[in-house]
C-alpha cells in the first residue's frame, strides 16, 4: 500500500518547455515589431469654398512664393534661392508695419506657395521646410523673450504654447497649380 503511493507520478506539470514557447512568441513579436514613429510636416488644407468669396487680403500682407518645374524660386516676383526663403519669410512675418511692402502684423501675414504641376516633390518639401523653419525660429525667439525657455520645451496643449502659437499663427496657403 505504502509502496504503491510512492510510485505514483507527481502532480506537477512540467514547466521547462514554457520558456521555449515564450521565447518563440518573443522572437515572433521582435521580428514583426516596428517602433518607428511617423514624422513629417503637418498642414491643414483649406475647405472647399461654398461660393463664399474669400476675404480680401491686402497686397502687403501676402507673400507669394512661386516654384517652377525646374525648382527655381520666385519670391514676390523676384528670383531667389531656397536658402534665402527662411530669412525672407522671417522678415516678412515679423515686420509689424515697419516696411510698407511687408506685413502689418504676424497675425495678418499669409505665405502663399504656388507650384507648377511638374515641380519635383523634394523641392516643394524643401521650400515648405524653410517656411516652417522660419516660423519655428520666430516662435522660439518669442518664447525665449517671454518665458525664457525654448519653444520646443513648452508642453503640447499647454497655455504658454498656445500663447506663442497665437502670436505667430502659421498661415500658409497652398495655391492650386496652373495646368500644363
Amino acid at each position: 500500500m505504502l509502496n504503491k503511493k510512492r510510485n505514483r507520478e507527481s502532480g506537477e506539470i512540467d514547466g521547462s518547455s514554457l520558456a521555449d514557447i515564450a521565447f518563440l512568441l518573443l522572437i515572433f513579436f521582435l521580428v514583426v515589431t516596428t517602433i518607428d514613429v511617423d514624422t513629417g510636416i503637418g498642414l491643414v488644407l483649406p475647405p472647399i469654398p461654398d461660393d463664399i468669396e474669400p476675404p480680401p487680403v491686402r497686397e502687403r500682407n501676402l507673400m507669394n512664393i512661386l516654384v517652377n518645374a525646374q525648382g527655381m524660386v520666385l519670391i514676390d516676383e523676384e528670383p531667389a534661392a531656397i536658402a534665402q526663403v527662411r530669412d525672407r519669410v522671417k522678415q516678412f512675418v515679423d515686420n509689424r508695419g515697419a516696411d510698407p511692402n511687408l506685413s502689418d502684423s504676424p497675425d495678418d501675414a499669409i505665405v502663399s506657395i504656388k507650384t507648377d504641376r511638374r515641380t519635383p516633390y523634394n523641392v516643394y518639401i524643401d521650400m515648405l521646410d524653410e517656411v516652417m523653419g522660419a516660423y519655428e525660429e520666430l516662435r522660439h525667439q518669442a518664447s525665449m523673450d517671454r518665458f525664457g525657455v525654448p519653444f520646443a520645451s513648452l508642453e503640447r496643449g499647454s497655455e504658454r504654447r498656445g500663447e506663442i502659437q497665437e502670436m505667430y499663427p502659421k498661415k500658409i496657403s497652398i495655391a492650386e497649380p496652373d495646368e500644363g
Binding site: 515589431t33 513629417g40 503637418g42 488644407l45 507648377d116 519635383p120 516633390y121 523634394n122 516643394y124 518639401i125
Partner: protein, 148 residues
C-alpha cells in the same frame, strides 16, 4: 587527471533557471503591447524626402496613409507613378474621395499622411489634396525623414 575529475563531480554547478520564463514573458508582453503589425504590402517605391522642421505624430491610430510613387513591376523595374491606399492601387483619382470620406466617418480626427517618393511631380499630390478637400479630411501630413 583523476584528481581533478573527482573534485568537479562533487559540486553542483547548475544556474537556477526557474525565473527565466518570467523574464521572457515580461519581454514578450512588452513587445506585444508596443507592436503594430505591418498592415500593408507596398506596391510602389518610396524614397523619403528629408526635412529639418518636422513633428512627430504621437497618435498613430489616427493616421491613414496614402502612398505615392513609381509602381514596382517586379525584376527591380519601376513603372508609372501610382497612388496606393491600404492594399490597393488607386485606378481613378475620384476613388480617394470616397475612401477617405468613409475613413473620416469612422475617425473624425483623421490625419492623412502622404508618403510621397522624392522624385514625384507635385501635380499628382495636388490632385490628391483636391480629393481630400472634397472628402473633408483637411488634416494632412507630408511624411519626411529627419535630416541628418
Amino acid at each position: 587527471m583523476s584528481k581533478f575529475k573527482k573534485k568537479q563531480a562533487s559540486t553542483k554547478q547548475n544556474v537556477p533557471t526557474s525565473a527565466m520564463p518570467d523574464v521572457v514573458f515580461m519581454l514578450l508582453i512588452f513587445f506585444m503591447v508596443t507592436t503594430v503589425l505591418r498592415e500593408v504590402e507596398l506596391q510602389v517605391q518610396i524614397d523619403f524626402v528629408e526635412a529639418e522642421n518636422i513633428e512627430k505624430i504621437e497618435e498613430k491610430r489616427l493616421v491613414s496613409y496614402i502612398y505615392v510613387g513609381p509602381e514596382r513591376l517586379g525584376g527591380g523595374r519601376l513603372g508609372e507613378t501610382r497612388v496606393q491606399i491600404d492594399d490597393a492601387l488607386v485606378q481613378d483619382m475620384g476613388e480617394i474621395r470616397n475612401v477617405m470620406y468613409d475613413k473620416l466617418m469612422e475617425e473624425p480626427r483623421l490625419i492623412v499622411s502622404l508618403r510621397v517618393d522624392r522624385d514625384s511631380e507635385f501635380g499628382i499630390v495636388t490632385d490628391i489634396q483636391q480629393e481630400l478637400r472634397h472628402a473633408g479630411t483637411l488634416r494632412i501630413n507630408y511624411s519626411t525623414r529627419r535630416q541628418i
